[in-house]
C-alpha cells in the first residue's frame, strides 16, 4: 500500500492506464494518510467521502483518454468549488459555499481529476508563512513548528507530506514558489494570462496566477497542460497556443543562454544559498548551457512597488466582503455600523493591514506619489526583463533569500516577512513565468530552491531547463513523518 504514495503523478496516471492500480486504491491511500495527518492542519475542508465515491464511479466506467484519469487532487482553498465550502482562509467566508466552479479546477475535473478537499492558505493569500489563516497555521512536514511558507502553505505541506499526489496554488508575489522552495517541491507560476482567474478568490488581480505544485518537473508539465487554458470569462486571459508541456519536455539545454542577475546577490544572503546558486550554474554549464552575467537594475524597487500595487488592488477587491450578500455578517445598529463590525471581526490583522495600505496609496493626494509611481516602477522592471531577454533565454536565481523559519518567528515583523518575496515578486510584476525546483538543503536540513525565470509564454523552455537541472541535482526528500 505504502508504495502508492511514493509514485509521482505521471507514474500514477501510467499505473491507472495499465490497470495496475484503480482510482479507488489510490484515492483510499491518500484519504487514509490525510486522515492520519490532521496535525499538519493542511485541510480546511475535506471531501473524502465524495472523493471515494467518485473514484468508484471512475473505476466502474473508466476513461483512460483523460490526462488525469481518476487521480485524486486536493486544491488550495482559494479556488471556488461548486457545492463545497470555499473560505480563502478567512472568517468572512467561513461558511461560503459557491454555486460555481473555477475554470482552473474545472479543467482538472474535466481531465478526470477527483477533488480530495480544500487546502489551507494565508487569509486571502496574504502571507508568506501560512500563519494568517483564520483556520490556524499549517506545519511543515519538513520539521515540527516549521512554517511551510505561504500563501499556498497548505498545498505545499500536503504535497510534501504525501496527502495529495499533486496540487495547485496561486502566486501573486511568490505564493507558489516560496512554499515550494521551503518544502522541497516543484512549483510553477505561469505567464500572466495563461491560467484563467475566473472563480479564484481575488487578491491582486493584475498579479494573481494559478499554477501547479508537484513532486517533480514531469508532474509539473502534465498539470500545467491541464490547467492552462484560454477563457472568455476572464478578460485578462490570453489566447496563445498552449503546447503539451509533458510531451515536449526535453533535458537537452545545449546552447541555451542563461542569465545570472547580479542584483539578486543581496546583502546578508546566507552562504549556503550562494553555494546553491553556484551549484545550479555549474550544473547548467555542464549540461551545455551558456552562462551570462546580466543586470536587472530596478530589482531593488520591486518589493516596495509590489507592496503598493498589491494592497491597492486588494483594498478594492475585498470591498465586496461587506456582510450584505453572502458570508459572515455581524449585527449593527445601521448599515455603516454593520460594515464596520463585519469587516473588523471578519478579517484578520494582515488583511486589515493591507486594506489600510491599499486605501492609503489610492487616496486623493497620495495616488500620484504611491500608486502611479509604483506602476511606473513596474514598467521599468518589465523593461529590465525585456532588455535582458534580447540576450538570454532564461534567468537563474535562488527562489528565496533564506530557508524556512519557525512558526511565530516573523509574525511581529511584517517587513522581514515581506522580504521573503524579494526574488519572486519582480516576476509577478513583469507577468513572466518562473519555476522553483528543490536544489539542496541548508545546514539544518531544510530545503532550498532555485528559480528559473522565462520569457512570456515560454513555459516549455523553463520546464526543460528545470528538468535538466533536476536530474543532476538529484534532490533527496528527507521527510520522517514526525507528525504521525
Amino acid at each position: 500500500m505504502s508504495n502508492i504514495l511514493d509514485f509521482t503523478l505521471v507514474d500514477l496516471v501510467e499505473k491507472i492506464k495499465k490497470k495496475d492500480l484503480s482510482s479507488k486504491e489510490i484515492t483510499k491511500a491518500y484519504v487514509e494518510r490525510s486522515e492520519k495527518s490532521k496535525k499538519l492542519n493542511t485541510y480546511i475542508t475535506d471531501d473524502f467521502k465524495n472523493a471515494l465515491k467518485k473514484a468508484d464511479n471512475f473505476d466502474s466506467k473508466p476513461d483512460f483518454n483523460k490526462k488525469l484519469p481518476g487521480i485524486p487532487i486536493a486544491v488550495k482553498d482559494l479556488f471556488c468549488t461548486k457545492n463545497l465550502r470555499t473560505t480563502a482562509g478567512s472568517k468572512i467566508l467561513e461558511n461560503f459555499i459557491p454555486t460555481y466552479e473555477s475554470t482552473v479546477t474545472n479543467n482538472i475535473w474535466n481531465e478526470g481529476g477527483i477533488l480530495l478537499g480544500k487546502l489551507n492558505c494565508d487569509e486571502f493569500a496574504m502571507g508568506s508563512s501560512n500563519e494568517t489563516s483564520f483556520f490556524g497555521n499549517v506545519q511543515s512536514p519538513v520539521g515540527e513548528k516549521l512554517v511551510p511558507g505561504g500563501s499556498s502553505g497548505g498545498s505545499a505541506s500536503a504535497l510534501r507530506a504525501k496527502l495529495t499526489p499533486a496540487t495547485i496554488g496561486t502566486d501573486t508575489g511568490g505564493s507558489i514558489r516560496q512554499p515550494a522552495s521551503f518544502t522541497g517541491i516543484v512549483g510553477l507560476k505561469p505567464t500572466y494570462g495563461s491560467c484563467s482567474r475566473y472563480g479564484i478568490v481575488a487578491f491582486a488581480s493584475s498579479l494573481d496566477q494559478a499554477g501547479p505544485m508537484t513532486q517533480d518537473v514531469k508532474d509539473c508539465s502534465l498539470l500545467l497542460s491541464v490547467i492552462s487554458s484560454y477563457d472568455n470569462n476572464d478578460s485578462t486571459s490570453i489566447n496563445f497556443k498552449r503546447g503539451d508541456y509533458l510531451k515536449k519536455l526535453s533535458k537537452s539545454i545545449k546552447g541555451k543562454k542563461i542569465g545570472i542577475p547580479k542584483e539578486y546577490r543581496v546583502e546578508g544572503m546566507p552562504k549556503e544559498i550562494e553555494d546553491l546558486w553556484q551549484k545550479g550554474i555549474t550544473i547548467a554549464k555542464e549540461a551545455g548551457a551558456e552562462i551570462l552575467d546580466i543586470s536587472l537594475p530596478n530589482t531593488n524597487y520591486a518589493l516596495p512597488a509590489y507592496y503598493i500595487v498589491a494592497p491597492a488592488e486588494a483594498s478594492s477587491n475585498l470591498a465586496r466582503y461587506d456582510g450584505v450578500k453572502y458570508g459572515f455578517r455581524s449585527k449593527g445598529k445601521n448599515l455603516i455600523d454593520m460594515y464596520e463590525k463585519t469587516r473588523s471581526e471578519g478579517f484578520g490583522n494582515e488583511v486589515k493591514r493591507r486594506i489600510m495600505i491599499g486605501t492609503y496609496v489610492l487616496s486623493s493626494g497620495y495616488y500620484d506619489a504611491y500608486y502611479l509611481k509604483a506602476q511606473k516602477v513596474r514598467r521599468l522592471i518589465k523593461n529590465d526583463f525585456d532588455e535582458v531577454y534580447k540576450k538570454v533565454d532564461a534567468i537563474l536565481t535562488p527562489s528565496t533569500p533564506s530557508s524556512a523559519f519557525k512558526i511565530g518567528e516573523k509574525t511581529n515583523d511584517p517587513v522581514s516577512m515581506y522580504l521573503n518575496d524579494i526574488f519572486t515578486v519582480p516576476i509577478n510584476l513583469a507577468g513572466l513565468p518562473a519555476i522553483s525546483i528543490p536544489a539542496g538543503h541548508d545546514e539544518k536540513g531544510y530545503p532550498l530552491g532555485l528559480q528559473i525565470i522565462g520569457k512570456a509564454f515560454d513555459e516549455q523552455n523553463i520546464l526543460n531547463i528545470a528538468y535538466s537541472l533536476e536530474e543532476e541535482i538529484n534532490f533527496k526528500n528527507k521527510i520522517d513523518d514526525w507528525w504521525m
Binding site: 472563480g199 472568455n232 470591498a319 489610492l362
Partner: protein, 491 residues
C-alpha cells in the same frame, strides 16, 4: 453663435439693482439600450420581479470577473457620433470605490480620466434662434442596484436587477442659461438618442436622469460662480423647478453678502426645494484606479467607421431636408423631426399625399388626438397609410375639410380606410352643379323674405344662404360650388 446666445439668454434673476445670470451644466445618465448588462449577460428588461435578473458577476460573488459587452461599446460610440464628438480609440475602465448596500462590488466600474467619447456638441432650437451647447465627454459606467426602504420597517431591502446595467454619462459644458434651455437640451439629447436607438429616453423608468450643476453670477461678469450639484433629478419638470429654486437661493445668499459653498444637494420634490446632502469637505474620496480585471479598451478605425455608416439621418439634417425639400417652415420642421417616430409617420403620409395639407393635419388634428388620448405617435389609432388616404380625399375634393373631420373622428375609434367610411356613410361631397342648383333653388324659394332683404342691400345674409344650402346637403355640398352658384342666383 456667441452673440446669438447672448440675445437668447433672457433668463435673468433681478434682486435690488442687480441682474443675475444662471449658469447650468448637466451630467445626464442615459441607460444604454441593450438586452444585456455592461459586464454580464443578465437581462436588462424593466419591471421584472426583484433580483431575478442578477448574475454572479452582478452580485459580485468571489472570483467573478467582468467581461465587456461589445454591443454597449457600439452604442456609446454611436451616441458619440450623434453628438458630433471625438471618439477615443483608447479608453480605460476605472473603479470608483465606495461602500453602499446596493453596490455589490464595493466599487462602480466607470471611466474616469480616459472616457470613450470626448468633446462634442448639441444644437438647440430656441424661440429666437439656434444655440450650440458643448459636450465635455461621454463615458460608460455601471448602474447600481436599488435600495428599498419602505417595505420592511426594520430592514432595507436591495434589488440588484439594475446592478451592472450600462449607463452613458453625458457631461455638458456649463453652456445652459435657463430652465427652458435645459428643457430643450434634454429633449434634443433624447431625440438624438432615440433616432440612434441607443437610449429609449424613458424618464418614468429611470432610463434618463441628470445631476444638475447650478451657479449664478452678476450679468457681465466673466468668472463662473461657485456651483452646487443637485443629484439625480429624474424629470425635466423637477430639473426646472430645482434650478429655479437653487438659483434664487444662491442669489439670496450673495445679496445678503454671503458666499456659496460648493456642495452636493438633493431636490425635495414634495417641498419644492433643494437641501444640502454633503459639503465639499465631506465629499467621498473615490480612490479611482484602472480596473485590473479589464484591459484598456482599444477600438479600431474600422470599428468606428462601420458605426458611422450605420448612423441614420439625425434631427438636424432631417430638419434641413424638410425645409429645403418640402418647403416647411423652421417651426413646422422642428415639430416634425423632434421625435423620430413623428418624422417617420410624416414621411409615410407625404409619400402619396400633399405636403401642406399633411403637415397641417398631423400637427393639428392628429397631435390633438394623441394628446387627448395620451398616446405616443407609434401607438396612433390612425395609421399613416389611412391618414394619407384621408388627405387625398380632401385634396381631390371628394370630401370637404369639415366632413374630413368627422371621418377623422370615426377613424380614431377604428382604423378604417377613409374611402370605405365615406362610401358607407354616403359622405361624398356633392359637386354636381345641377344637383346643387336644385338644392339652392329650394332654399331661395323657401326664403323669399330673406332674398328680398339681401337684394335690398343686407349682403351679410349671404352666409345664411350658404349655411342653409350646406344644411340641406347634409354638409356634403362642395362649399366652393355653393358659393359660386348662390352668387349667380342672387344677383
Amino acid at each position: 453663435m456667441d452673440v446669438m446666445s447672448q440675445k437668447i439668454s433672457d433668463y435673468i434673476i433681478k434682486r435690488n439693482e442687480n441682474n443675475y445670470e444662471v449658469i447650468i451644466g448637466l451630467e445626464v445618465h442615459a441607460q444604454v439600450l441593450s438586452d444585456s448588462k455592461l459586464f454580464s449577460t443578465s437581462s436588462t428588461k424593466f419591471g421584472a420581479e426583484p433580483n431575478t435578473q442578477v448574475s454572479l458577476v452582478d452580485a459580485a460573488f468571489p472570483g467573478m470577473l467582468p467581461v465587456i459587452n461589445e454591443f454597449c461599446i457600439k452604442q456609446a460610440v454611436k451616441t458619440g457620433v450623434g453628438l458630433k464628438a471625438k471618439i477615443n480609440k483608447r479608453s480605460i475602465f476605472d473603479r470608483k470605490n465606495y461602500f453602499y448596500a446596493d453596490l455589490p462590488q464595493g466599487y462602480q466600474i466607470s471611466q474616469y480620466k480616459n472616457p470613450i467619447v470626448g468633446e462634442g456638441s448639441v444644437i438647440l432650437d430656441l424661440p429666437l434662434g439656434e444655440k450650440t451647447i458643448g459636450i465635455e465627454r461621454l463615458h460608460l459606467e455601471q448602474d447600481a442596484g436599488k435600495s428599498i426602504h419602505d417595505i420592511d420597517p426594520q430592514n432595507t431591502l436591495v434589488d440588484l436587477n439594475r446592478s451592472g446595467v450600462a449607463l452613458m454619462e453625458i457631461v455638458s459644458k456649463p453652456d445652459l442659461r435657463s430652465p427652458n434651455e435645459v428643457n430643450t437640451y434634454i429633449k434634443k439629447l433624447r431625440s438624438i438618442m432615440r433616432y440612434l436607438g441607443t437610449c429609449d429616453g424613458n424618464m418614468q423608468e429611470g432610463s434618463l436622469r441628470a445631476d444638475v450643476n447650478v451657479s449664478v453670477r452678476k450679468k457681465g461678469e466673466k468668472e463662473l460662480g461657485t456651483r452646487c450639484e443637485i443629484k439625480n433629478v429624474n424629470s425635466i419638470k423637477f430639473m426646472q423647478m430645482a434650478i429655479e429654486y437653487e438659483a434664487n437661493r444662491q442669489v439670496d445668499i450673495i445679496e445678503e453678502g454671503g458666499s456659496i459653498d460648493q456642495e452636493t444637494r438633493l431636490f425635495d420634490t414634495k417641498k419644492n426645494e433643494t437641501r444640502s446632502m454633503r459639503s465639499k469637505e465631506d465629499a467621498h474620496d473615490y480612490r479611482y484606479f484602472p480596473d485590473p480585471d479589464l484591459l484598456p479598451l482599444e477600438i479600431t478605425d474600422d470599428f468606428i467607421n462601420n458605426i458611422k455608416k450605420s448612423i441614420p439621418e439625425l434631427p438636424d439634417e432631417k430638419k434641413k431636408r424638410f425645409i429645403e425639400k418640402f418647403n416647411l417652415s423652421a417651426y413646422e420642421a422642428n415639430i416634425l423631426v423632434s421625435d423620430i417616430e413623428t418624422s417617420k409617420y410624416f414621411e409615410e403620409v407625404i409619400e402619396n399625399s400633399d405636403v401642406k395639407i399633411s403637415t397641417n393635419w398631423i400637427t393639428g388634428e392628429l397631435f390633438a388626438l394623441l394628446n387627448d388620448k395620451n398616446l405616443e405617435i407609434s401607438k396612433s389609432p390612425i395609421s399613416a397609410k389611412n391618414l394619407s388616404k384621408l388627405i387625398n380625399l380632401i385634396k381631390d375634393g371628394t370630401i370637404s375639410g369639415k366632413i374630413a373631420k368627422s371621418v377623422f373622428e370615426i377613424m380614431a375609434t377604428e382604423d378604417k380606410n377613409p374611402v370605405d367610411i365615406v362610401e358607407e356613410k354616403g359622405l361624398k361631397q356633392q359637386s354636381d352643379p345641377k344637383e346643387l342648383e336644385k338644392l339652392i333653388d329650394k332654399v331661395i324659394n323657401e326664403n323669399p323674405d330673406k332674398v328680398q332683404e339681401y337684394k335690398s342691400g343686407k349682403k351679410k345674409l349671404f352666409v345664411f344662404f350658404v349655411g342653409q344650402a350646406m344644411k340641406a346637403s347634409g354638409g356634403k355640398a362642395n362649399p366652393q360650388l355653393i358659393n359660386d352658384i348662390l352668387k349667380k342666383k342672387l344677383r
